[in-house]
Symmetry: C2
Subunit: 346 residues, 2 copies
């Protein structure tokens, strides 16, 4: 690489507008002193925000674009008419090798469609997936797909397993990550045809992963495996159900602590501990869905992310840009297919 | 009814054995002074346990059976060879009208198979479902299916909506419960064919329910609707993911509070509030999946339930036995089909 590691950013993507993007840049710049940022968006909004901070000078380039993808825009509409949007240009910069990774807090469906159109799918993989990092009792677990595909065949679930294994390798540094398939029970005969088929394929493969078999919903937070594989429908529902549950428990806790004078005093005394808890449960800390399986790394920040959340997504993007995850995905998937052809051949 | 309301119990079903069943009976007897209990199980184990408590005299009848369904038994095996088990006899008593409702903490798959075989499916419904009551920010929400069917067509999801509406009516006393279909987004174009088809049917029906449209995973705990409809695969994963998340948050809270002397003191002062929280999150309080769509009400207690949990399942069973939920399900489903025939007819 002759140029510095560069992050292409859709600066108009999130609900809160470009203000949080600039605030996030200020946080991330300090941690990554040699990284460059390419911002796509409205100059009239971006330049005054950037001008306020001397630190940003020489680290940020603005590319003016007038259009913006709205949260309610259909992906097909964006593909047809979205070529002047900040999202489109953010991906285009990645395609043109002006940047190493792209980040957007915009409409997930549109971002996936634009990314697939612009970058294409990694050799050996049928469909990309969105991965997320889930806090667990043991640390962190990768869950995928959490929303790219509403249905998935057995071979697609195997693709997800390979991508999750590669992701666990580059992000957690694991040589042989454990992988489980999300199901309604851990017994072999349980589940639908897709999960049973995928388990069968993974059981007989010699991939650099330890196939654990089936896991259940509560195994995610237990940290039973490093990678949990599921279709995008189930994964998305599980992720949002977990978010809803964490918020419910937090509300119950606040209500309980407000009930009496004594509990208010207790909460005040224990406020440091309760702050630690809040930080552990803060969805902003692990904010960022990673699009895997594309010829280029795209990180999706939560649409409602604030500066802390968007900065987490930028950090994740920079970590990913430093790895060659796609080479591993392609090599693993090819080796696996070759192995199966050999087994089947007479 | 000439006899008293009677609950048929599989006394050998749970992981903990008949001891917790007897302890649960002692709790439930006090609340429901005129209810009778028919216990199916091993006399040699049950009689000594019952003999210790004078209160149980005249309220409990034991039916001796030698067999027991194990947690790992396949449903097909139990159907072929399980006729001497306590589970089979518990359902048989319901079928023979010796009891009004059956309760078991045994193997869910086997219990569903034995119940379907013994009782048959309600007129107008294709497949039964398992419903659960979910604590929310606003109170409680019914979620179904949480495990009876790993796949569900659009018509089956509509069945679940009708059963959920009837359940909300008899349990919560709601005249027009709100119903949502669990999906990966709230927009009409999102989701797989089954959820889109079911939404289409429900949107055009004049059932006694308010169809809200699609809801997402986090809407369950928010209490956005009274009834959340989903297939048994997604519902089961969502339920277990929520359980896992609640446990994770509880562990984080305990760890945070133990970290310093000050936070330990705070936790001690606020211990009343923390006890309230624990009670609110106690899965035992809402313990019990309800099998809907069978000619007879069957309540499944959690396999690992203790006496408090099993007593909750008994309470739910007694509440259900006092209603005529099946008449409402059949009438609603018939009216709905007739309405659609009319609409389609020239």
């Amino acid at each position: 690489m002759t140029r510095a590691l560069t992050v292409s950013i859709d600066a108009m993507g999130g609900d809160a507008g470009p203000g949080i993007v600039v605030a996030a840049l200020l946080r991330t710049l300090q941690r990554h002193t040699s990284v460059q940022f390419l911002l796509h968006g409205d100059e009239a909004q971006l330049n005054p925000l950037l001008a306020r901070h001397a630190k940003l000078k020489g680290r940020v380039t603005v590319r003016h674009t007038t259009g913006r993808v709205a949260m309610e825009d259909k992906p097909s509409h964006v593909l047809r008419r979205g070529r002047d949007t900040s999202m489109w240009h953010a991906i285009e910069s990645l395609k043109q090798c002006e940047a190493d990774v792209a980040v957007s807090a915009g409409n997930t469906g549109a971002l996936m469609a634009v990314s697939m159109f612009g970058l294409g799918i990694v050799d050996g993989i049928a469909r990309p997936a969105i991965a997320t990092i889930w806090p667990t009792l043991k640390g962190q677990t990768i869950v995928l797909d959490v929303g790219a595909n509403v249905v998935a065949t057995d071979e697609q679930l195997v693709d997800f397993a390979v991508m999750g294994e590669a992701f666990a390798h580059v992000i957690f540094g694991l040589e042989r990550p454990t992988v489980g398939i999300l199901n309604v029970g851990s017994e072999e005969q349980k589940g639908n045809d897709a999960v049973k088929g995928a388990a069968q394929i993974l059981r007989n493969s010699s991939l650099p992963l330890a196939f654990h078999g089936f896991v259940e919903g509560d195994d995610i937070a237990k940290g039973t495996v490093d990678v949990v594989v599921t279709d995008g429908f189930t994964g998305n529902v599980a992720l949002k159900t977990a978010e809803g549950t964490a918020r419910l428990v937090g509300t119950y806790l606040r209500q309980s602590l407000k009930r009496s004078l004594l509990s208010r005093i207790g909460a005040m005394v224990a406020s440091g501990a309760l702050r630690t808890l809040r930080r552990k449960l803060d969805p902003r800390a692990s904010n960022g869905g990673i699009f895997l399986g594309l010829n280029g790394v795209v990180v999706k920040s939560h649409g409602g992310a604030d500066a802390v959340g968007f900065a987490s997504a930028l950090d994740m993007a920079i970590d990913m840009a430093r790895t060659d995850i796609n080479a591993r995905i392609t090599a693993d998937r090819r080796a696996m297919r070759a192995e199966r052809v050999e087994t089947v051949a007479p």
